[in-house]
């Protein structure tokens, strides 16, 4: 028993040390991973998918996170800030109510669209990187932020689709919107890696040119190269060595970041724990 108590104290000290240095690790909360997340003492924050939860029917495990003082970030996928139409006020209310109910410090969405006026895309689609799109996106962002009680962060998406009318690089497009909106940046390193591989630009060059002054936190996830030859950001495979390498480069530039693992399917708890351990080690190696 004494040994166990000492281990717990050591864990608590490690967590406190990490909190002091600013490097924290987290995980995308899914029911299938709940026990694994709770069992780890080093998880400082969790992120939930907004569309899977109702503010007035919150799951007990989430409320227990909030009671324990862990940050819960709300991650939306259906707001479609890149659509031609203004963001839907019902969806904004949904995000706002969730943030209030869970005392969330942050909501996030994507540089993407999921629907047009009449058609539903079903998932995040890339935006044409034009000046007109920047203008529309910034207007939409401001409308959305005005209705939310906490800051709205923006995440880069993975895509193999390139618009023929693109006028600027992905990094220039993201930087321009981040600068005009003042939005916190949710940097998805795996998405960046996927785009570099599929669209032929240098990942390290992209990182060095990216505006990392206001990074809220970082996503990493697994992916795979499928038969079609493209790298798919599946969130179901193990995290590629190149993604770990890219994360390390980001941490060398900004050591005091919050980083979390996203997983959507193939919930292998052993793999999840190995990757969380690796995330911890990586942060320690960069910081010391």
């Amino acid at each position: 028993m004494r040994g166990e108590a000492e281990v717990v104290v050591a864990d608590a000290e490690e967590v406190a040390e990490e909190a002091e240095t600013g490097y924290q690790i987290g995980a995308g909360w899914r029911p299938e991973l709940h026990n694994a997340i709770v069992a780890r003492k080093d998880v400082a924050f969790v992120e939930i998918l907004a569309e899977s939860h109702q503010p007035n029917q919150l799951l007990q495990p989430l409320l227990s996170f909030a009671k324990d003082g862990k940050d819960i970030y709300i991650h939306g996928t259906e707001l479609s800030l890149g659509s031609a139409a203004l963001p839907d006020s019902n969806r904004l209310s949904h995000l706002a109510d969730l943030a209030i109910a869970l005392h969330s410090p942050l909501i996030s969405e994507h540089f993407a669209f999921v629907r047009s006026d009449s058609t539903y895309g079903g998932h995040l689609l890339p935006l044409p990187r034009t000046k007109e799109m920047v203008k529309v996106f910034v207007e939409n962002y401001r409308v959305a932020q005005a209705q939310l009680p906490v800051p709205l962060a923006l995440e880069n998406v993975a895509s193999f689709l390139e618009w023929p009318e693109n006028e600027m690089s992905e990094v220039a497009f993201l930087n321009e919107i981040l600068e005009q909106t003042g939005a916190p940046f949710l940097l998805d390193v795996a998405n960046l890696y996927a785009n570099c591989l599929n669209n032929g630009f240098d990942a390290l060059d992209a990182i060095s040119n990216m505006d990392l002054n206001n990074v809220a936190y970082v996503h990493i996830a697994g992916g795979v190269i499928r038969n079609d030859g493209w790298y798919h950001d599946t969130h179901q495979h193990s995290i590629a060595n190149q993604v770990w390498g890219l994360l390390k480069e980001v941490l060398l530039l900004k050591p005091e970041l919050k980083v979390m693992i996203e997983r959507d399917g193939n919930y292998d708890v052993a793999l999840f724990n190995r990757e969380m351990d690796k995330l911890n080690e990586l942060g320690g190696a960069v910081l010391h």
């Binding site: 998918l49 907004a50 569309e51 899977s52 109702q54 503010p55 007035n56 029917q57 996928t77 259906e78 659509s83 031609a84 139409a85 839907d88 019902n90 969806r91 949904h94 669209f113 629907r115 047009s116 006026d117 009449s118 058609t119 539903y120 895309g121 079903g122 998932h123 689609l125 044409p128 007109e132 799109m133 203008k135 529309v136 895509s159 193999f160 689709l161 390139e162 618009w163 023929p164 009318e165 079609d228 493209w230 798919h232 599946t234 179901q236 959507d264 399917g265």
Partner: protein, 148 residues
């Protein structure tokens, strides 16, 4: 407003190329096909979280199903994979297997998009309790009868 109209029109063209069999002029065809397949897989994965049997049932015909029933813009329905599940539960044009049909019926019966309390649950709970009471009581009654 003209910027919004132009962007909306182009996004419509892309979605029509992805789901409606549009030509998708100017887009790289290989990338379009890969994007379409990736979207289908991601929607299936989202659906699988709520209705695993339906996802397995649709695996080979998912694209066709999304095109027919799930590509029209929905009204406010906040839940990712549940949007498709609820829509599929309302269509009578697809002949599902029994397990899938049960999953969809359950989704349709218990979900409320507006987040209102599930009043029907009380009714179900009462029924459950009654059934449990009967199940536990019957053997006891049977024993007594045999004893007499």
């Amino acid at each position: 407003m003209s910027e919004r109209n132009a962007i909306g029109k182009r996004q419509e063209e892309l979605l029509s190329a992805l789901y409606g069999g549009g030509s998708g002029a100017e887009f790289d065809k290989k990338r379009l096909v890969s994007t379409r397949n990736a979207l289908c897989r991601k929607r299936l994965a989202a659906l699988e979280r709520h209705c695993p049997c339906v996802a397995i049932f649709l695996r080979s015909s998912a694209l066709e199903i999304w095109e027919k029933f799930c590509s029209r813009n929905p009204p406010f329905e906040p839940h990712g994979g549940l949007i498709d599940a609820l829509r599929l539960s309302k269509t009578s044009d697809v002949l599902f297997d029994v397990a899938s049909a049960i999953e969809l019926a359950a989704i349709s019966a218990k979900w409320r998009w507006d987040g209102s309390k599930l009043r029907k649950r009380r009714f179900y709970l009462t029924i459950n309790r009654s059934v449990r009471l009967i199940v536990f009581t019957l053997p006891l009654l049977g024993t007594r009868v045999r004893l007499m």
